[in-house]
Amino acid sequence: MEFQILVNFKFLNDLIWPPACRWLLLLMKQFLFYLTTVISLLFIGSCSSDENEETQYSDLFQNVADNIIIPRYSNFDESLSDLISELNNFDSTELSSLEILQEKFINAYLSWQKVSAFEFGPAGETSALLRSNINTFPTNSTKIESNIQNNDYNLEAASNFSAKGFPALDYLLFHTSQSELLIELMNESRINYMKNCLIDMQSKLDYVINGWDTYRNVFVESEGNDQSSSLSLLFNHFLFDYEQLKRNKFALPAGFASSYGIPISSDPSKVEGFYSGKSFELIYANLTALESVFMGMGENGVDGIGIYEMLKEYNAVSTVVEGDLSEAIANQFLICKELVNQFSNELAYEILNNISQVQETSNELQKMVPMIKNDMRSYFSVTVTLGDSDGD
């Protein structure tokens, strides 16, 4: 627009206006130049603000809340209840009873992987703090044993967070052979300890599920991109959960992580699900859960509005690999899932015996981080609020 007007003026300048009027023309030209510049700027300005207003996230929030978060919490609740009733019926004289109990434990632990990314709203409140209460690993077996022996413990005390939740049950249900476990579990105080852990977990989960009854509308109706907006919360906890997976579940036990710049040496006992040896299954479930939030895939199997669709709307481009950001992230999920699936032994074993393949997988898991943390974040215009402390 601006260019065209100036060209027209040049044409007028040369052909029509007599030299005597040139001074006037110059003034007008200058005036018009400023005018068009101002108009152009206003136009650009209003364009971008219109775009922000036009980009509606409520469809995303609605799909994520109604078809992903709420049904996942309800599935998790169901699998936790199954585990509790199995524990209540446990018969330490029957191997099959232990096997079913172990199986229900794995089911519940896998089910947890689908909700760990939603540590905002009710899940992040004092009464829930789900991630800390339910999945603090590695677990502290010494603490667990001393709690059981003393039969005097407060599971709410900070020092007991590493002695409860799934990692504590993982220890109590898998740390030795099934025949020895059956003998051990004749001890009522061990069963009671597991029951108390499960009651603790279920009470926190109940709080969250009840909380979503009212929080659902708050979440869906949220606007804007400030730190308390649903956009920022969903993004930040998606990123945080992914980074937990990449670092604490994988790179840290494998010896690829560092703290304050100091490398941390490999320690296979730090993997998630160390005693049951289910690390890869848990990681795979976690990855799939994040992938379907990204794709907008509901628990009912309906592919709705996800982050994928929102980035498409922005025509978002990846800075990590060539091309479309939505496709790049979707593809990276596939690559990571395939690599995680390729191992034939449990993660702790692979760290000790197959470090090059572990390294390759770690590299691909890492590759996703800038796609989310830089690229996705910049299209959503949110800031990273979770993560490293300020270092002082």
Partner: protein, 229 residues
């Protein structure tokens, strides 16, 4: 007996001496000097013969004392809500007020130090005293906001002994600082009571203890969004 956990050094009950010392000095020295010594009547009831100054680099005793107070804030002269960076000590922690959407930085700079210095230059002591009251009450919000921030960090990292105990030690030190303002909104015994809510062993603390302390501190200062800090 001490613990070296996650790069921090704690005593046997989980308190981190370095935070109690460094932030302790920020409270008992910088904050005390800034809010309660250099703005006190003794320091303000001094020569202010502005007319006798012959150059820009000269200053009266009163101007000097007032500028000393500003020095203890550790803020750049143009710090604002929109431009909060570049401070040190209290000037650095002032940014924690932004997380809770407080306008502390603009208030303490515009209505406090800038208005107060201008009033002194004009020998307008009523306006000066109003500005001093603003400085004292707004500065107080920096340790409050910092303590709320660290209590929230501690709750979020409750399962991590190192991060939690570090954050709690920071919070305790910032709450202790509140005692060093002669015009504080809370009394020293109220501060002690709030700190005592955290118990005497940070390894045994619960999320509810942290959140109760946070809520007590917030309600003492009329803050309705403590979990946003």
């Amino acid at each position: 007996m001490g613990h070296l956990t996650g790069g921090y050094m704690f005593n046997a009950n989980g308190f981190e001496p370095v935070q109690l010392i460094v932030k302790g000095i920020m409270g008992s020295c910088f904050y005390y000097q800034g809010t309660s010594v250099y703005l006190s009547e003794a320091k303000m009831n001094v020569d202010n013969d502005v007319a006798s100054l012959t150059s820009d680099i000269e200053y009266t005793d009163m101007q000097h004392h007032f500028d000393e107070s500003f020095g203890y804030l550790g803020a750049p002269i143009d710090m604002s809500v929109a431009n909060p960076d570049g401070g040190s000590y209290w000037g650095k922690y002032a940014k924690k007020t932004l997380v809770g959407s407080l306008t502390t930085i603009d208030n303490i700079m515009q209505d406090g130090f800038i208005a107060g210095r201008h009033a002194i230059n004009n020998m307008d002591y009523d306006t000066r005293d109003q500005a001093i009251a603003v400085i004292q009450s707004e500065w107080e919000m920096i340790p409050v906001a910092s303590a709320l921030y660290y209590l929230n960090s501690a709750e979020a990292a409750i399962a991590d002994d190192a991060v939690r105990n570090h954050a709690l030690s920071e919070a305790i030190a910032f709450m202790s600082a509140l005692k060093w303002n002669s015009n504080a909104l809370v009394t020293p015994s109220q501060v002690d009571d709030m700190i005592a809510m955290l118990g005497d062993n940070l390894f045994n603390i619960t999320a509810v203890m942290i959140s109760d302390t946070r809520n007590a501190l917030a309600s003492a200062y009329g803050i309705s969004n403590p979990s946003e800090f």
